[in-house]
């Protein structure tokens, strides 16, 4: 699914008559002090309908930020505004914010349907309404068959869908997702990631999603806020936001070495999906067409791991369906391996062994062929 501009998406949602009212969020000079941890001077703006990803290494700080937004921690300073109204003093139940935890936090004494209905019951919705809306959200998330099951009988992916349904059924103005995919295995994670995209697209809720996974951040986020934690003397640790921007900005122009190292993926490009004669290509701005396997359309980002790129001194015709000629522009030493940057353009970085480097008799400025499989191209 393509990332359309937010305003366009919102107009689409309005057309569809979705009852969700996405809101904008502003955080101003926020400090939260807890035992052993301090949230330091957070300023953050999230536009209505935006999907913001908070990215940072595993730690408690990102969760604390989400919980502060939800009203579960009282800030020691600063303000939180939703649609311009100050909600800093508001208790969580009056904020209309949905929260999804990494390990689902389903009520173990209630079955899936009762879990989903919980928020509606708390608002005193009529029985009829509850049933209808639970059924509707279950349909949206494809969990109708799970409604009678108790939480402990659900798999991780199923439980997270139920948790998502529970948060969405009350039509929150803002959806907070605390590493919602981290506890899942790879396949389920990818499935649910697609689901999150689809739901965000369909409902248009403003969402803040916390993760430590750069690829997840790139895949989902309209913008990414990079979060950093560090020791802070007697206060224990403190954390704050060090950079906010689109995934590409973060990636291309990291504001600090920390960000650069943390988002250290290489070979990230933008392009447009083109289908020609049954083949799928991504046409980069530089004109290069990269064969890929995808169901996406339109503007996409793509990422190729350096270790998936093979270098050779003659053109390849192999099962590696992408083969380009380029010129070696840079070689970085990585111990037993070398990072070779090849200008095609754009610039690709390949990881090769020192021995291959010698075999290929490569050196800066030399012409070289690089190849990678279509399946090695990660699109989002």
């Amino acid at each position: 699914m393509v990332k359309l501009p937010i305003t366009y998406r919102l107009s689409l949602i309005a057309d569809r008559g979705s009852s969700f009212v996405p809101c904008q969020l502003q955080i101003r000079d926020l400090w939260v002090e807890l035992e052993g941890f301090r949230l330091r001077h957070i300023n953050l703006d999230v536009a209505a309908g935006e999907y913001l990803v908070i990215l940072g290494p595993t730690g408690t700080g990102k969760t604390v930020l989400l919980e502060a937004i939800a009203g579960l921690h009282r800030p020691s300073q600063g303000r939180i505004l939703i649609n311009g109204a100050d909600v800093t003093g508001l208790p969580p139940e009056q904020r209309g914010i949905g929260f999804v935890y990494q390990d689902y936090a389903l009520f173990p004494h209630l079955n899936a349907a009762e879990n989903i209905a919980f928020g509606l019951r708390m608002r005193g919705a009529a029985r009829r309404t509850v049933e209808e809306r639970v059924a509707a959200i279950a349909r949206l998330l494809g969990i109708e068959h799970l409604l009678r099951r108790m939480p402990e009988t659900l798999s991780g992916g199923e439980a997270q869908r139920v948790a998502l349904a529970r948060a969405l059924v009350v039509e929150p103005r803002l959806l907070l997702l605390d590493e919602p995919l981290s506890a899942l295995d790879l396949e389920t994670r990818q499935g649910l990631q697609r689901e999150l995209k689809r739901i965000h697209w369909q409902l248009g809720t403003t969402a803040i999603h916390v993760t430590h996974d750069f690829e997840e951040a790139v895949a989902l986020g309209d913008r990414v806020a990079v979060f950093k934690e560090e020791p802070a003397g007697e206060a224990g640790r403190e954390g704050g936001i060090v950079q906010v921007g689109t995934p590409e900005e973060i990636f291309r122009r990291p504001a600090s070495e920390f960000v650069a190292r943390f988002v250290g993926g290489r070979n990230l490009f933008r392009g447009r999906v083109v289908r020609q004669a049954g083949e799928t290509f991504v046409r980069l701005a530089e004109g290069l067409g990269i064969a890929a396997v995808t169901g996406l359309e339109g503007e996409v980002s793509l990422l190729i791991r350096p270790e998936d790129i093979v270098l050779s001194s003659t053109p390849l015709l192999s099962s590696a369906r992408n083969c380009f000629r380029g010129r070696v522009v840079e070689v970085a030493d990585g111990g037993a391996v070398l990072y070779v940057t090849v200008e095609v353009p754009p610039r690709f970085t390949a990881l090769i062994t020192r021995r291959s480097w010698e075999d290929l008799a490569l050196e800066q400025g030399r012409e070289v062929y690089l190849a990678f499989k279509a399946s090695a191209v990660h699109l989002f």
Partner: protein
């Protein structure tokens, strides 16, 4: 390695352990079996015994109810809230276990006695503590409330606080969250703590005898019969009391399972 007689050390241990178990079991068995069913039945028919048993059950029930009302909130706060002096409060809750019960009785008398401020204040409403049901209740309450509070606290501690947070974000007020999430999830622990407290209240002697020799609860009755008429007369009552406690205890273990075991 897993069986009882796996090696000589286990056998020595088993012999030592057996001594201790015999020491517990023998007196109890002996007391229960010394009087035939006929004598036990006669004891049950004894008006005074029945009145004492009824009073004990009732007083302990009231004490448990009071502890429930105030102790469950206390347990919840201990499990959830952060406040200065928290460890002090925890210690305070455990104190009645180590204070000798006769000293506890004296201490209660110092506050609830006829001449005291509280005693006279309650007296205005016709509530008398010394030698009356309220005195029995506060004595039982004092010595046995740690059982309920600690069990409930452990119950609340076992509830993931994030479940409560989710409930709050879903629009649940603190009260609705407590009744809809925290309480039902801690209920088994609370219940088993309440039963344990009730059982412990049934068996209270030291504090009760100082506050209220009369009306007589079963342990006091037992003591009085022993003092006035000797062992022969006290023994059937003791047998009856032990059997009742055994029944309660078995129910408790069936509910609580191994984890909520009494200490």
């Amino acid at each position: 390695m897993k069986t009882l007689f796996a090696n000589r050390m286990h056998i020595s241990f088993a012999i030592l352990a057996l001594l201790l178990l015999l020491f517990i079991a023998w007196p109890l068995l002996r007391t229960v079996t010394a009087s035939g069913p006929a004598l036990l039945w006669q004891t049950i028919l004894d008006e005074e015994v029945r009145r004492a048993i009824g009073l004990t059950f009732y007083a302990s029930f009231i004490a448990t109810a009071i502890a429930f009302l105030c102790g469950v909130p206390l347990a919840y706060l201990l499990a959830r809230a952060d406040f200065p002096g928290r460890r002090l409060v925890e210690g305070l809750v455990d104190l009645p276990i180590v204070v000798p019960h006769s000293a506890a009785g004296i201490a209660l008398l110092m506050v609830f006695g006829r001449q005291t401020f509280l005693g006279q204040a309650f007296g205005l409403f016709g509530v008398r503590f010394v030698s009356a049901l309220p005195g029995i209740v506060i004595a039982m309450l004092f010595v046995s409330l740690p059982f309920l509070v600690n069990a409930a606290r452990e119950g609340f501690e076992a509830v993931d606080p994030r479940l409560e947070r989710v409930s709050r974000t879903l629009g649940g007020s603190p009260w609705r969250t407590f009744w809809g999430v925290s309480f039902p999830l801690a209920w088994r622990s609370i219940l088993s703590g309440a039963i344990l407290m009730w059982a412990r209240g049934l068996s209270e002697f030291g504090a009760v005898i100082i506050l209220a020799y009369h009306p007589m609860v079963t342990p006091v009755l037992l003591y009085e019969r022993f003092e006035s008429f000797g062992l022969r007369y006290a023994q059937p009552v003791a047998a009856l009391v032990i059997l009742i406690c055994l029944a309660v205890f078995i129910i408790l273990r069936l509910i609580g399972g191994r984890k909520e075991r009494a200490r």
